[in-house]
Amino acid sequence: MSKKITIEPVTRVEGHGKVTIKFDDAGNVEQSRLHIVEFRGFERFVQGRPYWEAPVLVQRLCGICPVSHHLAAAKALDVIVGAGTGNGLTPTGEKMRRLMHYGQFFQSHVLHFFHLVSPDLLFGVDGDPAIRNVIGVAMKHKDLAVMGVMMRKFGQEIIAATAGKKIHGTGAIPGGINKHLSIAERDSFLLGADPLNIDKMIEWAQAALDFLKDYQKKNTDFIDNFSKYDSNYLSLVRKDGALDLYHGVLRAVDANGKKVLNDVDYQEYDKYISEEVRSWSYMKFPYIIDQGKEKGWYRVGPLARLNTADFIPTPLAQKEFEIYKAYTNGKPNNMCMHNHWARLIECLHAAEMIKVLLNDPDLLSGELVTKGTKTNRGVGLIEAPRGTLFHHYEINENDQITKANLIVSTTNNNEPMNRSVNNVAKSYMNGKDTITEGMMNAVEVAIRAYDPCLSCATHALGKMPLEVTLLDANDNLIDRKRS
């Protein structure tokens, strides 16, 4: 008799998701899908609002990655106010934004690795769920847990110093930034008492990376073969091919490393990228138009970025990048769990960039804003920790937003996450009489490798909307439950 399993909620990802796995009569996985309830009403909500409000308004989208939305919106509005893209800003404007962005990257990658991933590595995918979490890490590996907490705190303090405040930061404004870094703030990050100084953060970022590499050596089969599959990879890169998390041109490579999007201007992203709607998912499926819907889907995020970039412009991360690239003989890395390896190389790069910026006098003084001739359309792209984030706005003669289109990182990874779920479900569950908690966690491990953020900003106690849909083998609705 055929059966169907629903795993929900997907723990340790933001918001709410649901996985359905259908088995055929022989007990093999017939179909599996990740459903994510994505609320796109925000794009309608901002219509009619003055454009300059957007960098603050977009932070209502998500309390997890507000900095990424804040900066992507500001970059789009740079174009609208005539400040151009990227290096059109004053040195102070661009560098303060970059500092904010690297602070966000650092804290987000740290949170993901120490809080969400390390329990699976330390206790095993099928380890006791009662201890397979950060509390378990704290009990058995206190040094690692303290490291994670303090690194995250450091990144959060960088954000507060550059964005102005923790909630609804106002730092980035159309055409620039609204504050300098004070000498006291700079000195606290450079020379703060251990562990809260940048040298310790770099040391710890390297230590976390060494831990992961050591784990990979001891668990090569799991790390290398867990949900391994070919795809295209997309990200921003600097014009010279360097990894650049803040600004660049749009590049995509295929599974063999061939460029399928060759460093194009992202202002015209809609000539190259489209989004497919599928009846069973709330979330769209982006693809590269030239490649078509079937072959044009792509991955974004750490794994993708280290596949598209030619080098990393900081010395310690570059050294690690060379080791990482050598592992696949320079070919694109298609191993899902190597997202974690790539993520920690980026974490080290972010820490190095923070140090470079803290030593730059442009942060302490200089013009904050660039002015120019206004236009009515602007696109801002940024590499959010989870992957490429698109913000597109159009305005009318009254400075009101008439159109907004956002493609968030998790949407870009929609098809890849579904592929990963399917791969893992088949390899762990095919032909098994009993489905264990460990098998179900394996599916979640595959999803967590992408660090999805499901745009769930309201988290009031008891308010956690869920939908469980039960279908029979013919896709007839049996039951639907909402919490």
Binding site: T11, L57, G63, A138, A145, R152, Q156, I167, G462, K463
Partner: protein, 158 residues
């Protein structure tokens, strides 16, 4: 003279989502009052949600009062003691619960502050700034309660 207990008031939520900002507004009002009255040894904090670094933030406090919006079926607000949670995986782990923060603080720092959570009833959660009128009424009641407890020796559960 008894030593004054180091206290932290920590509101969390997204003020861009209507009544989800109840916790943030609570601490904003309290901060103004504490400054005006010159009340010592009270730290104020506010964020979108709690996270792992808050275990460090509460580790040097004697009393911590978290404040959040709720849709629970209550009239206005209530307070309860937060005990460390079982080491159970949370539904959403980009944010953590007060009980999780307490547990992490206990485990990492071997510190055991008294921790409370004020639940304030909210009603609307759309993309908008500002609290609903009914939520404001509930907020005012919670604020008056907290002020009275602070003035009366900081015994929140008495």
């Amino acid at each position: 003279m008894a030593e004054i207990k180091k206290t932290m008031l920590y509101g969390y939520g997204n003020p861009g989502r209507q009544d989800d900002g109840l916790g943030n507004e609570f601490v904003s009002i309290m901060e103004e009052w504490i400054t005006k009255e010159g009340i010592p040894e009270i730290t104020i904090d506010s964020n979108y949600q709690l996270n792992i670094e808050d275990a460090d933030a509460i580790s040097d406090k004697d009393i911590v009062v978290f404040v959040d919006a709720t849709i629970e079926e209550i009239d206005d607000f209530y307070i309860d003691r937060v005990e460390p949670s079982e080491a159970k995986v949370e539904f959403s782990m980009h944010a953590v619960s007060p009980a999780f923060v307490v547990n992490l603080c206990n485990q990492l720092y071997n510190k055991f502050p008294e921790v409370y959570l004020i639940h304030i009833k909210g009603y609307e959660w759309d993309f908008a700034e500002g609290l609903t009128e009914k939520a404001k009424e509930n907020l005012n009641k919670a604020v008056e309660y907290a002020k009275s407890k602070i003035l009366d020796g900081r015994n929140f559960m008495d």
